[in-house]
Symmetry: C2
Subunit: 274 residues, 2 copies
Amino acid sequence: MNTVHLVHESPVSPLRHTCADCASHDWCLPAGLGAKQAKLLDHLNVHTRFVGRGGSIYRSGTAFHSLYAIRSGFVKSTMTLDDGRERVTGLHMSGELIGMDAINTGQYMCDAVALEDSSVCAIPFGELECVTRDIPVLQRYLHRTMSREIAHDYGVMLLLGSMRAEERVAVFLVSLSKRYAARGYSATRINLLLKREEIGSYLGLKLETVSRVLSRFQENQLITVQHKDVEIKDLDRLNRMVGNHHNVHQRASRQPLRATLAAPAPVQPAMQYT
Amino acid sequence: MNTVHLVHESPVSPLRHTCADCASHDWCLPAGLGAKQAKLLDHLNVHTRFVGRGGSIYRSGTAFHSLYAIRSGFVKSTMTLDDGRERVTGLHMSGELIGMDAINTGQYMCDAVALEDSSVCAIPFGELECVTRDIPVLQRYLHRTMSREIAHDYGVMLLLGSMRAEERVAVFLVSLSKRYAARGYSATRINLLLKREEIGSYLGLKLETVSRVLSRFQENQLITVQHKDVEIKDLDRLNRMVGNHHNVHQRASRQPLRATLAAPAPVQPAMQYT
DNA sequence: CGCGCTGTTGACTTAACTCAATAGTAGTGG
DNA sequence: CCACTACTATTGAGTTAAGTCAACAGCGCG
């Protein structure tokens, strides 16, 4: 028994936490909650947990009780196939809500693992369902969050089903860039945090292909890359290589629609439905 | 101006429809609604629409107001990329709910098109949200339905990211077989309804590849195929070729998990969460 | 009947995979 | 501190599954 696991699995007892006076409130919860509604949030037994790099937030097959809001850090979710191979199905950053795939069956489908030291809030889903009944704006927020996940998945399906390796990696880099930028980090200096194999697993490519594409991007002055540190040199050109030039003979477009990997962002644009 | 469009777009004015006494009630709505709850359903302005083969249920980019429950028929959803290529992102049968990807942005991301004469119920989402506040079992049903969609999408991502052509087609056939069987149709005689190109689009393959794989399956006595009619001769073997034999050297599995395309089924297993 | 659409099949090309050798990095322990 | 091992990344050479291009066959429909 060595100390490694103590680092991975936070032994600290989880903190009882009220959303109403949480520092992350602004970007974690829907804006415009009144005082009365904010008070209803106190009924939620939200617990904050710190998870070290490599530590797991939940494991595939275990019973589902809570969604997890990521307060800080970077999390991957992975699924393990029958034959033992692991595939990365999602990458998640602060402000995102994970675990929604588990609502239906009552057990998590994925492993969620921190790729850097992270903190997450466990939100008991049963309680959340109750509270949303009394806070329509929160109810809508939940529905939109789930909807956004679905829409995002369609984007990934498009990527996996019809893009070539270079495009996939370009989309991946641009997506990371956007998401970091949205959180106030540099849009051009990004830390991959994932190994080549994990990137490949996420993009449906082999690790050698990922490595080669990154090298080629560097040759072409699109980026500089050293291990997990990437500096984007030409974001424009990187952006342009997404969606176009699959093959040469294309008919005119009918209803243009940009497929993005841009992930579940915390900020939600205004909308309405009847 | 010819008559084709009259066939495609049903000119019949939609029917006002109450869920409480709908013939499809049993498999469309959650079981166990009390009389009082059933009465609340009357507040929903559900309209039934008949859509001919080739007709569209909603179009990408138009404003989102309603989810659509499929009462009968077979529906594809497609997305059109910037460059004009179309990709099939979903296939839907009776009892399934479509349009959930639109909740977030307020406009549909996909085109939903009937592949055979179909009937659908338009459920105004704003009203649905209201009603679910008073009917917890319905609320949970909605959440589970969205969750099931997310989980299903993960399965598709696995398929597109890591399966070879033969496996993809096998998964496709097995999935159709299961879904038809669940609805009381034959599990072995299935009508594809899709052209080779559409199957390929759904599976991330070219139409020629789909055609070749089907021919090979026929050579190997797995199926007989003629145009869009497929008879499954060896469902067992078809099932076994899913998930295994990607390549030869595999480590032992850790947390087996079967990736399925088996779609959003109307029946929901019992579960609980705190 | 002839036209257009859909599907099949063959020959060839290619993007990505596989295998393998090597180099760089990080972590471990003496 | 450095040597040692693990792991991770890069790169090259050869292979292959799927894509591309093209010819043709079958079917349905006006």
